[in-house]
């Protein structure tokens, strides 16, 4: 009886297992294998197995270390700002009695757009130094025009502002759903006891939404580490290497320099980073339960 059951379960899972193997396990394993070879498309196509040499080289590669630094800065600031803005928006929306539906619908727009399209839109209509709205505005109030995406000190903040515009509504809507789940009696009781708004946020809202924030941070954090399309469209990693995040570097190595083996090792490194981040957040989540 028991044996039949396992057989049945196995057969039922079989198609799914094949699917997972073909689309997930095999590519990852093949990627790991590639990262241990010296395969380069520009040479005559010879590929040698070189063990961990690619990974050792990573630590001597200044451009890689730079990309790691850029990724880290982008990750920390974008994530924190997005969550802060999203949280603030969620509370505003919760307090809003009229027109909440329309505003929620409008808030869907930024992250429903294809990232490449919205990034290109920002690049050409907002950040463009000659015709961009931002510079037209600055010019009209008498401030000097800025090179948003080519000034070394402005490029990352500009990208972070775009990313916040695109993704904080997503966080706001997720948190709003959480807020709606909190019984109103809790707030009323707190108010009767004379708690200030800040205290309500600190003692009621944040503790109840903690695991939701962690989930949102999990999704967004991984997305930020993986970010490619937006930065590729907006700056291509420039000026110089100042906005070249790890995945962009991986792309250049693999598909412009055509160093497939070395590129794979960067990809695997980025994969490990994301996995580590997942583990950290999951630990927080489990602790919170």
């Amino acid at each position: 009886m028991m044996r039949d059951n396992t057989k049945f379960i196995f057969f039922s899972l079989f198609p799914c297992l094949i699917y997972i193997f073909l689309t997930q396990a095999f590519p990852i394993a093949y990627g790991i294998y590639l990262s241990l070879t010296s395969w380069t498309l520009t040479s005559t196509g010879t590929s040698k197995f070189i063990f961990l040499n690619n990974y050792i080289e990573l630590f001597y590669d200044l451009r890689f270390i730079n990309s790691l630094r850029v990724t880290l800065i982008f990750f920390i600031f974008a994530l924190l700002i997005e969550i802060a803005v999203g949280f603030f928006l969620a509370i505003m929306l919760y307090k809003l009695k009229k027109g909440r539906r329309i505003i929620t619908a409008l808030l869907l727009i930024p992250f429903q757009m294809t990232p490449v399209v919205s990034a290109l839109g920002w690049r050409t209509f907002i950040y463009n130094p000659l015709y961009g709205l931002l510079n037209l505005f600055l010019g009209s109030i008498g401030l000097p025009k800025q090179r948003w995406l080519s000034d070394p000190s402005l490029v990352l903040p500009s990208i972070i502002i775009y990313d916040t515009w695109a993704w904080s509504p997503f966080i706001a809507l997720s948190l709003l759903a959480g807020l709606m789940g909190i019984p109103i009696e809790l707030f009323e009781a707190a108010r009767i006891d004379g708690a200030s708004e800040i205290k309500i946020i600190k003692l009621i809202i944040i503790p109840t939404l903690k695991s939701l924030i962690a989930v949102v941070a999990l999704i967004r954090g991984a997305d930020i580490i993986k970010a490619f399309a937006t930065i590729f469209t907006m700056t291509g990693g420039g000026p110089g290497y100042l906005s070249e995040i790890i995945n962009l570097y991986c792309y250049y190595v693999s598909f412009i320099d055509l160093k497939i083996g070395y590129g794979a090792s960067i990809g695997i490194f980025s994969f490990i980073l994301i996995t580590l981040y997942y583990i950290c957040i999951l630990k927080v989540l489990i602790k919170g339960e």
């Binding site: 520009t42 196509g45 090179r147 995406l149 420039g238 110089g240």
Partner: protein
């Protein structure tokens, strides 16, 4: 009073939303349908788009111009070549999607009639066609018989061993007739581009001079400048004079984006100042004093005289900024000449002038570039593929499409009355004058023949971008670039 008003407002909103929705649906249906019949119901409009989508994609992927009407009066001159030798064979071409290829493909039906060879063409945009060709070559694939390739990196393709040199065909009198084809008629600088290890690895389509000075005659007149600048110093002075930031008017613009194209532009200034990328032993010396001097010059020129954000400029932005009238001078490729005098494309068609590019202290240093037809070594129909190359780039056919392009790849066409007649009126005759004088100013080996040249160029492009956007000083960026270039060369097996 308040009760009916409330209902009215709600009704009004619903009606408004309904109207908006209707307009949206109508607009969507109209856009999707395209054909003039719009007065049908929504259900029919939903079926129409699917067919229209299918037709557009089929047009985009298969680009064999089977239905194009060719009104060429050119006949193939008599020769000893056995055109019918490979009748019935099918050859496949991987080509760039651009006018210079399209004009040649217009002749395909004539070729098919003459030889009985069936030609299939796949056309892709620049970056993709290059990437695809590289991958095909690395895989020693025989899917395509002919590639269209970047002339400046032919060495890297040769190093993969996937190209067949021309010498394997020209020895066979059945498929080559020197009097008919005249290989020595191809502009030497362009032929030099594809010559490596005493072999010719492809046929250059044009000789595209990378630098030509385009300027606005009306602005020159307005600010009292009587002639176009002839030297770098004059270029800077004139550009400064023409820059009026408060009026959004700039003297000069050039490419400075990250990537190979800004390196391509800076090379002109580097050579103009007497610098070089490599010494005799392939050691990078681009960070020598001439190199730093030339980059300083280019950075200053752009930062003082170019529109803000110039460090993001690709060729598109350079072209647009000139055509929109914001920029008074550009030093750019010669094949834009036909665009700038076309009144349907440029507002300033009547007042755009052309001149020889300004020369540096070490003399003129114009780059010559071309797209190149090359034959796949692993192809199974090499000789049939060669026949297409031979036929389309021979003087008689080249005249046909060179006339449309304005920039030929053969000396005889430069002097051909039919060609001259077509372009003689361009820029009041100045175009033909510049075009015929430019070969004298060509810089030999503008693109050093090293295997990883594309990577080297890409790295130099980053340095130019860094310097122009002010990340680091010219000296520092070039020092770093030289170090990386050395590493790239080492990886490719130099210095052993």
């Amino acid at each position: 009073m308040s009760e009916p008003k409330k209902v009215d407002r709600r009704k009004f909103i619903y009606a408004g939303l309904g109207a908006v929705a209707l307009i949206a649906i109508g607009a969507a249906a109209y856009v999707a349908m395209n054909p003039p019949v719009v007065t049908k119901t929504v259900t029919t409009s939903t079926t129409v788009p699917t067919t229209s989508v299918v037709t557009t994609t089929s047009v985009a992927t298969t680009t064999v111009p089977t239905t194009s009407v060719v009104t060429s009066t050119i006949t193939t001159p008599k020769s000893e070549i056995n055109w019918k030798k490979y009748a019935g064979t099918t050859i496949k071409i991987l080509a760039l999607k651009a006018f210079l290829i399209d004009y040649q493909l217009e002749l395909l039906p004539d070729f098919e009639k003459l030889t009985g060879i069936h030609v299939e063409v796949e056309q892709l945009p620049e970056d993709q066609v290059n990437q695809k060709a590289t991958i095909e070559m690395a895989g020693a694939s025989s899917s395509y018989d002919i590639y269209s390739l970047w002339g400046h990196s032919i060495v890297s393709y040769v190093s993969t061993g996937a190209l067949e040199p021309i010498s394997s065909f020209v020895k066979n009198p059945e498929i080559y007739d020197p009097d008919y084809y005249r290989l020595d008629d191809i502009i030497p600088a362009a032929l030099d581009l594809v010559t490596f290890k005493n072999e010719i690895w492809g046929i250059p389509i044009q000789a595209v001079y990378q630098q030509t000075l385009y300027y606005r005659k009306d602005l020159f007149e307005k600010y009292g400048i009587d002639k176009p600048p002839r030297t770098f110093d004059e270029l800077k002075q004139v550009a400064e004079k023409l820059t009026k930031r408060s009026e959004d008017q700039y003297g000069f613009a050039g490419r400075a984006c990250r990537g190979t194209q800004s390196a391509n532009v800076w090379l002109y200034y580097l050579y103009g100042f007497g610098g070089k990328i490599f010494d005799d032993k392939w050691e990078p010396i681009l960070n020598g004093s001439e190199g730093v001097e030339s980059l300083k010059f280019y950075v200053e020129l752009l930062n003082k005289c170019a529109p803000p954000g110039v460090s993001e400029f690709t060729w598109t932005e350079v072209q647009n900024s000139f055509m929109s009238g914001k920029v008074a001078m550009i030093n750019e490729v010669i094949n834009w000449a036909s665009i700038f005098i076309d009144p349907s494309k440029s507002k300033f068609a009547n007042v755009t002038g052309i001149a020889l590019p300004p020369a540096g202290p070490a003399g003129s240093s114009v780059g010559v570039y071309s797209w190149v037809w090359a034959i796949n070594k692993y192809s199974k129909n090499k000789e049939a593929a060669w026949l297409w190359l031979l036929w389309t780039t021979a003087p008689s056919q080249a005249l046909y499409w060179s006339r449309k392009l304005g920039v030929p790849g053969r000396l005889s066409i430069l002097n051909n009355p039919i060609f001259k007649e077509g372009v003689s009126k361009w820029y009041d005759g100045k175009f033909l004058q510049v075009l015929s004088e430019l070969p004298k100013y060509a810089y030999p080996n503008y693109y050093p023949k090293v295997i990883p040249w594309l990577r080297v160029m890409d790295r130099i492009g980053v340095a130019v971008n860094e310097a122009v956007s002010g990340v680091k000083t010219p000296q520092l960026v070039l020092d770093e670039a030289a170090k990386d270039v050395r590493k790239i060369m080492e990886e490719a097996g130099y210095y052993r």
